[in-house]
Each structure stands twice: as C-alpha cells, then as structure tokens.
C-alpha cells in the first residue's frame, strides 16, 4: 500500500483498534449526533462539562478507520480543556486538515499524526467528523446555558 503510509500509520490504526472514549456517559451534560451524508457514517458524542471545562468524553457510532481514529484522538485531546481552549484546538485541527496550518503536537496530541490526511481531500471529512461533533456539542451547551441565564 506504498503511497498510503502517512494515511494508515501505526498510531492511527492503534486508535482505530482500541478506541479511546468509546461508550456512553451516565448523564451527559450535552449529547449530539453527527453524520457524514456522503458516506453514511453516523456518530453520537457525549460530553460532561463542569465549571466551563470538558471533564469527560464518550462516543459511539460507526465509521472508517480515519473517522474512528480521529474521534478517539479527539477524545484525548479535548478532555480537561476549558470550552474556549477546546474550541480553539478544534479550529486548529480543522485548519491542519485544510492544509492551512502546521500541526501543533502540544495541542493536538496523537491527532497530530492525522496531518497527512490533508493530502486526501475526500478523507478530510472523515477526519473532521468527530471534531465537528465536539464543536457542535460545546456550542449547543453554550447556547443552552445562555438561554437559561
């Protein structure tokens, strides 16, 4: 599979085989569904948010190795972050996928290994699925808390 080495690195396949954060939370603060209309991937993402910080992330659903590995890496990268920081990391990851920023391993963690996906435009959507779900979840939470306040 010569040319695909950067797409299917060991670290990515490891996250695909042993997904971090797979499962459900008891009573999540916020939960969202996201799907990729092009390929049929469907995911469900749950966050616990305490004092403006993401404390737990869990996900279920199905998808290709890239979308599932990316979801797993996202779960590790965002947990413990404030909502603002988490949104900033999501945006950074998005820019990396679009080839507009160099990946910053300090912020992305293992997800930095996905940098090579940017070379495969049809797979960028796969890699972004979980991250867009996280952004949607955080923004949904922020909107709802504003309405309450």
């Amino acid at each position: 599979m010569g040319g695909l080495d950067d797409l299917y690195q060991d670290l990515i396949l490891d996250h695909y085989r042993r997904k971090r954060g797979e499962g459900s939370l008891e009573s999540p603060t916020v939960a969202v569904d996201q799907n990729n209309p092009l390929c049929g991937d469907e995911i469900h993402l749950e966050l616990n948010i305490v004092d403006g910080r993401v404390t737990e992330i869990a996900h279920t659903g199905e998808g290709c190795s890239i979308s599932q590995a990316s979801m797993s890496m996202m779960s590790e990268a965002l947990v413990g972050k404030t909502l603002e920081d988490a949104l900033e990391v999501v945006e950074h990851f998005r820019m990396v996928m679009h080839g507009s920023e160099q990946g910053d391993e300090d912020r992305l963690g293992d997800a930095n290994a996905l940098e090579g996906v940017a070379k495969y435009p049809v797979r960028v959507k796969c890699a972004l699925l979980g991250w867009m779900a996280a952004k949607d979840a955080i923004q949904t939470y922020q909107r709802d808390s504003e309405e309450v306040a």
């Binding site: 599979m1 010569g2 199905e62 290709c64 190795s65 890239i66 495969y120």
Partner: protein, 411 residues
C-alpha cells in the same frame, strides 16, 4: 439463452480510450459502472462531430446547419426508442433519471394525489425514487409507503401485495437494485398495481444499460433511466411514458421549445415529446446517447447480459472465498444484475476503496444513495463492485487479490 456472439473483451476494450490508462502505476481496473460507465470512442466522436460540424440550436432555424443539428438530435431519440422498443413520441429527454422521476412526481403527482392517497415504493429504491415522492406527499397530503425487502435481498411480494390497495395511486419500483443487484418482477408488479387502479413508474437506470429491455412489454406507465450509465454522456436522461398519459398531463417545466402558441392570455403546448422538453435541450448529449444506444445494439444486449452473468458468477465465487465476508443480494447470477455489494468485519468500506485504489481498482464505498436500504441491511455503508461489458474475469481477480492484500495490511 443468447444467440448473440459472445463479447470479445480484449477487442472491445480498444473502443474505450480511458481503459488504457494507469492509476498509481497500475492498470486501471474500473469496477464502478453502476455509478457511471466509461464512454466508447463512437460516443465521444459523435458529440465532437456535432460541435465541430453542425452546431446550431434545434427546432428553430431554417438554415441547413440548424436542420442538420435537429436531425441528429432527433436521430438520437430514434436510436434510444429503438433500443427499448418504445414509440418515439413516448421518449422524453430529461437531465437524468432523477429529473425524469421528478417530472412525473410534479407533473402527475401534484395534480393527482390527494390526502389519503398512497404512493407505494420499495425499501430498495435509490433516493431518486424516494425523495421526489416525499416532497410531493408533503404538498398533497398523500403518504409514502415502503414495501419491505426479504433477508435475501428480494422484494417481499406478499408484503407488497398486502400494502397495495385502492388507496395506492402510484407504485414506484426499481427494475434492478443498484445495491443488491436484485431484478424485480416489474411486469408482475405492473399487473398487480393496475388491478388496484394504480399507475406504475419503473426506475430502469441499472437495467437498460445491461440487458434487453422492451419497455412497453413491461406494462408500466412510466419508465426512467439515465444516459451516463449506458455508455452515454452525463446531462441526459430519459422518461418513457404511455403516450395517452403524457397527453393528459400538464407540462413540468415551461419555456421555449415546449409550446404550440403563446399569447398574453395563455399558452398551448407542443406535441409529444417536446411538450416536456422546455428550453434548449442537451443537444450534443442526445446525439452522444444515440451513439451509445447504437453501440450497445451493435454489440447486442443479449451478449451484454450474458457477459454480465458470467462476470457476476465469477465475482460472487471469488468474493465468496474471503473469510467472514458478507455479500448482499441474490446469489444466483442469472437472477441479478452485476452490482455486488459486500462488507468485511475488519475493514470499513471507505478503507477498502482507498486501499485497493493503490492497485488501480475503482470500487464504490458508501450508502449508494439508498440510506433506507442500508438501515434494513443493518449497515451504514457497503463496498460495491460493479461490472460492465468492458470488464474481464482477470480484472475481478486483480480486485479480489487487492482486497486480500488490503485486509492483510490492516490486520
């Protein structure tokens, strides 16, 4: 089954320029003809010649060029009509099969469906034969019902008959499933539907390119298919309608070309089929589609179908050797078309398509515009390999070897 000469794949492949290219350094193995077919030189040349030699608008000018353009455009219609055994006035050119179905949904459905009426379709429809009916149901208050698919991927005819009632006004059914390959008994379905007073629309996008189809003999009222899956260009499709129904229907789109007379007080419509062809039509595309129909008739649709059965038998057998593979749809090659969907427990369809692309193999991964069917099958997506007259047994072997290699790499 066939008196036609068997297809000489090696000789025939020379007619398709794209088949000699490589992908990632490997010879192209194109197994996605259910999505779109490749084009023979005869089609490319016919379209090129129109633009180079006779480009003019049709049905307007009195000058020689316009007359030649019109005659080539209408000759395209004659070729298509001959291929499917339908009278030329029943052959309406549209943009694609989707537009052909939308034409019926809007021009017939909006004016004839009422609250309480039902449109009966099947769980194996392509989105193009689901969504237009949902939209029109939303406008009219009619409802859309789905006849179920059996675990072996066939239409459940008992359930279909159970759902058919005097409330059913339209039955929409795919002739050959783009996911399962299933060939539906559309003549029987038409008979049953007509007993209840319902009309029948058949989506023939996956049948017309691959087998002899005599549309009037099916007994349906409307029949839709597309050009680009039958060696023709994109941008042109066909709606075949029973002439008396088309006569009774109001136009779908209004504009130039489709009128008899226009006054400030109102307008009257052109004769069939032009009443349904508003605006400048896809002229080069109709000429290209005509060339495609002529090419297929010259090869012989019996021979095309016999070749498909042979390749499908080989495909089912070769894929069947793979451990833990799930193959969807009927297993009898003679009872199905050449699109074979499958899944592997350890490799997502997207990864399959990406990995074997490295070996030059093109297969489709995804929901194939049939999300309700994916839900029935209990999967989010499948991989699908689909053959056509230019594919060989050897290409199927290359594909199955690439699949084995991809699997090993992912272990």
């Amino acid at each position: 089954m066939s008196t036609a000469a068997a297809i000489d794949v090696v000789a025939l492949r020379a007619d398709f320029p794209i088949l000699s290219r490589t992908v990632h350094g490997a010879p192209l193995v194109y197994l996605d003809s259910a999505a779109t077919s490749q084009k023979p030189t005869a089609v490319l040349d016919a379209m090129d010649a129109y633009y180079r030699e006779t480009n003019a608008n049709v049905h307007r000018g009195v000058y020689e060029l316009a007359a030649e353009a019109t005659s080539r455009y209408e000759a395209g219609r004659d070729s298509v009509a001959r291929m499917i055994g339908a009278p030329r006035e029943s052959v309406v050119f549209t943009k694609n099969a989707t537009e052909a179905i939308n034409l019926v949904a809007w021009a017939w459905g909006v004016r004839n469906l009422r609250a309480g009426d039902e449109v009966l379709i099947t769980e194996m429809e392509h989105h193009s034969n689901i969504v237009p009916w949902q939209i029109v149901a939303g406008i009219t208050g009619a409802s859309v019902r789905f006849a179920p698919v059996t675990p072996t991927g066939e239409l459940d005819m008992d359930a279909f008959e159970g759902l058919l009632s005097e409330r059913t006004r339209m039955v929409g059914v795919v002739h050959v499933s783009n996911v399962l390959g299933t060939i539906n008994p559309v003549a029987e379905i038409s008979r049953l539907a007509h007993e209840q007073g319902a009309l029948v629309l058949v989506d023939g996008s996956q049948s017309v390119p691959h087998m002899p189809v005599d549309v009037p003999a099916l007994g349906c009222d409307f029949f839709a298919f597309t050009g680009h899956k039958m060696l023709g260009p994109t941008g042109i499709g066909v709606l075949v309608g029973r002439p008396e129904l088309l006569e009774d229907m109001e136009p779908f789109l209004g504009g130039g070309e489709m009128i008899s007379n226009v006054t400030q007080a109102g307008s009257t419509w052109a004769d069939l089929p032009w009443k349904f062809e508003a605006g400048t039509p896809p002229i080069a595309e109709a000429i290209g589609l005509g060339a495609a129909a002529e090419y297929l008739m010259a090869v012989g649709l019996d021979a095309v179908r016999a070749h498909e059965i042979e390749l499908t038998a080989h495909m089912l057998e070769a894929l069947g050797q793979l451990e833990d593979i799930t193959i969807f749809g009927p297993r009898d090659p003679a009872a199905r078309g050449g699109a074979v969907s499958f899944s592997l427990p350890d490799l997502h369809p997207h990864d399959i398509a990406q990995l074997i692309d490295q070996d030059g193999v093109c297969v489709r991964a995804g929901h194939h515009c049939a999300k309700p069917l994916m839900r029935v099958l209990g999967v989010g997506a499948t991989a699908r390999a689909s053959t056509y007259l230019y594919n060989s047994r050897e290409e199927i072997d290359v594909f199955v070897r690439a699949l084995g290699k991809a699997r090993a790499a992912f272990k």
